[in-house]
Symmetry: C2
Subunit: 450 residues, 2 copies
C-alpha cells in the first residue's frame, strides 16, 4: 500500500501535468538540506539514502494506480500516457549515510528531467528527514552513553510501522547496539534483543514463579524485569533464584529496572546482586530515558550497564521534525533561488568540502558551487546515474562504522549535549556571487513581469 505511486502530494501530479503540457521537461537540479539545527543540537547525521535509492530504482506506476488516476477525472490523457511505463532516469549525488552535517549543506543532490525531479520530492523528504532525524538523535544518545549498551525499544511509540522499522535501522547506523524490533533484524541485520514485560510477571501468581517460568523457556541472554511490584525485593528474588537456575545450567544475564529513582535503585540493586554473589549480572534501565537522562544517571554514578530507549528516540521527541527542504537549484542550465521571507536558499549545484585538523578532527566546512574546488574533502559523492546505483550500497555495518568514525572526529565541544555553537560553515565567494547573479536576473525578469 505504502509503495504506491499515489503516496505523494496531489500538487506533484498537478505540476507534473503542467510541466508536460508546457514542454517544461529540461533537466532540473534539486537539493535536500536542513535550514537550521533544532535548539540544543550541534550537528546532524545523514541517514536514509539507501531507502531513497531503493525508492528511485523501483519507482513505477502500477496498473491499479494508473486506472485510479485516469478514473479520478482530474488528470489529462497526456499525463496518464506519460505515467505508463514511468521510471526515474536521473542521477543522484549524496553524503554517505552516517556523515555528520550542518544547516544549509545539501546532503543529496538530484538531477533529472523536471517532472521526475519534482514528483519524487514528497517521498524523498519523507524518507530522508525521518531517518536523519533518528540517526541524529541516536548519535547524541551514543555520546551520552559512552561504551554502555543502547537498545531501541521504540516500535510501539513510533508513528506507524515504517517509522518503527526505519528508526531501528537509523538508530543502529548511528551507534545503537540492537533493537527490540524483530523485523529490523530480518530486513536490515540489526541485532534483535528482548527482555520480558510487566504483563508476564502479573500473569503469574508470584514474581518468582514468573522468573522461573521465563528463565526455563528463554535461558539465553536471560534478562529479568524486576520492578513490577518492588524493585529491591525483585533483586533479592533474583539472588535467591540464581543458585537453583545455575543448577539447571541457566545463568541470569541481566536485570531490568523500568521505574522509580533509577540512581538509588541501581546502586541498591548492584549491592544486592554483588552481595548475593552475582557481580556478573548486568543492570539495564529503561522508562522515559533520553540522552540527558542517560548522562545525568551516569554522572550521578548509577551502576547501569545498558539502556533501553523508546519514545524519545523513535519520535526524536525534542525535535520531531527538521526545518528542511528539497529545493530547485537549477533548471535548464540556469541557477534558481527561492527568496521568500526567512526561507531564501543558496542557488545552483553545490558541493560541501570539509577540512580536518592535525588530529583528524573536523575543522570547518565550505559550501560552494559544485565546480569550484575548496580546501578539504568533498562530501557529496555520485551514487546513481540513469536511475541506477553506481555500485552496491555500503552495508549497514559499513555505514555504522563510518558514523562511528564521524563521531570520533567531532570537535570536543560538539560532543556536549548542549549547544556549543562552534562549528564553522563558510559560504564560498563563488556561491555568493552566483546568488547575486540569480537575484539580478530575477529582479530584471520580475520588473519586466510587473
Amino acid at each position: 500500500m505504502t509503495d504506491s505511486f499515489l503516496l505523494t502530494d496531489l500538487y506533484q501530479l498537478a505540476m507534473m501535468q503542467a510541466y508536460l503540457e508546457a514542454g517544461e521537461t529540461d533537466i532540473a537540479v534539486f537539493e535536500f538540506f536542513v535550514r537550521k539545527l533544532p535548539p540544543g543540537r550541534n550537528f546532524l547525521v545523514a541517514a536514509g539514502l539507501d531507502q531513497v535509492l531503493d525508492y528511485l530504482e523501483t519507482l513505477t506506476v502500477s496498473e491499479e494506480d494508473l486506472s485510479w488516476l485516469a478514473g479520478s477525472g482530474r488528470f489529462s490523457p497526456r499525463l496518464i500516457d506519460y505515467l505508463r511505463g514511468f521510471r526515474f532516469t536521473g542521477e543522484v549525488a549524496a553524503m554517505p549515510e552516517g556523515t555528520v552535517f550542518f544547516p544549509d549543506e545539501p546532503i543529496l543532490r538530484l538531477t533529472a528531467p523536471l517532472p521526475e525531479a519534482q514528483y519524487v520530492e514528497t517521498r524523498i523528504v519523507n524518507l530522508l528527514q525521518f531517518e536523519t532525524l533518528i540517526a541524529s538523535k541516536a548519535a547524541r544518545m551514543r555520546l551520552a552513553a559512552g561504551a554502555r549498551t543502547l537498545v531501541d525499544f521504540g516500535l510501539r511509540r513510533a508513528h506507524g510501522s515504517e517509522a518503527g522499522l526505519l528508526a531501528a535501522r537509523a538508530a543502529y547506523l548511528a551507534g545503537f547496539d540492537a533493537s527490540a524490533t524483530v523485523l529490523a533484524e530480518k530486513c536490515f541485520g540489526v541485532p534483535a534483543v528482548g527482555t520480558m514485560a510487566h504483563s508476564f510477571v502479573q500473569a503469574h501468581d508470584s514474581e518468582t514463579a514468573a522468573f522461573l517460568s521465563f528463565a526455563r523457556a528463554r535461558p539465553d541472554n536471560l534478562t529479568l524485569l524486576i520492578d513490577t511490584y518492588d524493585t529491591e525485593e525483585g533483586a533479592r528474588k533474583v539472588v535467591r533464584l540464581a543458585p537453583n537456575l545455575r543448577a539447571e545450567g541457566i545463568e541470569i544475564g541481566a536485570v531490568r529496572l523500568d521505574s522509580g529513582d533509577l540512581v538509588a535503585l541501581a546502586v541498591k540493586v548492584r549491592q544486592i546482586l554483588d552481595q548475593g554473589g552475582l557481580p556478573a549480572v548486568r543492570i539495564l534501565a529503561s522508562g522515559g530515558l533520553d540522552e540527558h537522562r542517560i548522562r545525568a544517571l551516569l554522572t550521578a554514578g548509577a551502576p547501569i550497564d545498558g539502556f533501553g530507549i523508546g519514545t524519545s528516540l523513535t519520535t526524536s521527541a525534542d525535535a520531531p521534525a527538521f526545518d528542511c527542504a528539497y529545493k530547485l537549484q537549477e533548471y535548464a542550465g540556469l541557477a534558481r533561488r527561492k527568496r521568500s521571507a526567512g526561507k531564501a536558499t543558496w542557488p545552483g549545484r553545490k558541493q560541501v568540502w570539509r577540512r580536518f585538523d592535525a588530529d583528524g578532527r573536523m575543522a570547518g566546512d565550505t559550501i560552494s558551487v559544485a565546480g569550484d574546488p575548496q580546501e578539504g574533502q568533498p562530501l557529496l559523492q555520485p551514487v546513481m546515474r540513469n536511475g541506477r546505483r553506481l555500485g552496491p550500497a555500503p552495508s549497514l555495518a559499513e555505514s555504522r562504522d563510518h558514523a562511528a568514525r564521524q563521531r570520533a572526529g567531532l570537535p570536543e565541544a560538539m560532543t556536549a549535549l548542549e549547544d556549543s555553537r562552534g562549528y564553522p560553515v563558510t559560504i564560498a565567494p563563488a556561491l555568493r556571487a552566483l546568488a547575486q547573479e540569480v537575484d539580478r536576473r530575477i529582479d530584471v525578469l520580475n520588473a519586466r513581469d510587473a
Copy 2:
C-alpha cells in the same frame, strides 16, 4: 513488509514461547489507555480502531516469516508449531473512533488467550497511539479554525509512509476538510487537494509565466502560490492575470501565502484582490502553522479563509507521543495490577460511563469495573468476537460526524487551547475496592514468595 508478523518486539515472541511451554494460555484481558494528558491539553480523541481491527482480522504468519523464525535458532519447535496457522481468536470492546476521552479511561479492551493477547500489544499500541495522537491534535486545530478550511500538508514531514497516510485519515476524522496526500483519497476517501510549489514558480522565467502555465494545465480549483519572490507583487500579478484567464474560462479560486508576516500580508493581499475586482478569490495560508498560530492569526483579524498544516499536525509536534499503555488487567479470571512506582494501574475489566448536562454537553465520566453500571452512557462497545468484527465498521464520514458531535459536546472551557483542568473523571467505589483486593492478594503472594 510492514504487515509482517515480525513487526513486533522480540520479547513478545519470547513471552509467547514461555506462556506456551508453561501452559499459560488462559484468557487474558488487556486494556489500552493514556496515563496523562500532554501539557496544555484538555482532552484526547480516540482514533485508529479500524486499523487495529483490520490488523486483528488479517493477522497470520507467512511461510517466509515462519521459516525465518525457525531458522533464527531462537525459538522452540513448540512455538513454531503454534504459529503455523496462527490467527487472532479474541474479542474487543472499544470507544468508537472520534470519541473524546481522558487519562486512565480505557479506549480499547481486548480479551483473548494470553499468548495472542500479549503478542498483539506492539502493533495495537503502534496504531492506536499514533492515530489518536493525530486526531487529538487535529481537533484542537479545528477548534481554533472555526469554519475555515483545514488541509493536511504533512506527508513529507511525517515519520515514514504509513504515518503520512494514517495522519491524513486521523486528521480528516477529527475535523480536517482534506489532505494533500493522494493515497489517502484512494484508501480512505479523504478528499485530496493541492496547490503548487515554489519550485514550479522558480522553474519559469517569470512568476506570471508560471501562473499562466499552471492555470491552463490545472484550471479547476485553481490556487496560485504568490510568495516565491514578493507576496504583494505576486497578488498584483494575480489581479492583472485574472481578466485574461477569465476570457479563457478560467477562474482563480485562491492564492496561497507561505512565508512572512501572515497578518500584515493577508490584509494587504485581501485589499489588492478586492480592489482588483477579485473579492471571491480566497486566501490560504501555510508555513509552520499550528493551532496557536491559527488562533493568533484569526484573533489579529487576518482575512485568511483556509490553512494548510504540515509538520505540527503530522508529528503532533508539541506531544509526539503519549504516555500510554496496553496493560494486563485480568488473567485466568483474576484481576491484575502493575504497581511500579509512578505507573500503577487500575485493575480488572473496566467500562467508562459519561453523563451529560441539560444542553447535551459532557458533564463527567465514571470509570468502574465492567459489571458495575453507573449513571450515564457506557462508552466502550463490543466490536469484535472470535477474531471477527461484529458488524461493518462505521464509514470514515460517520466517524467524522461522531467526532464533530463530540467536539460540540465539549464543556465551553475545554474548547480553549490552554489547559482548563476542568473535566471530572471519577473512579467508582467498586473499582477502588477491586484495586485493594488485588493489592492484598499481591502482598500475600509476595510475602509467601519472599
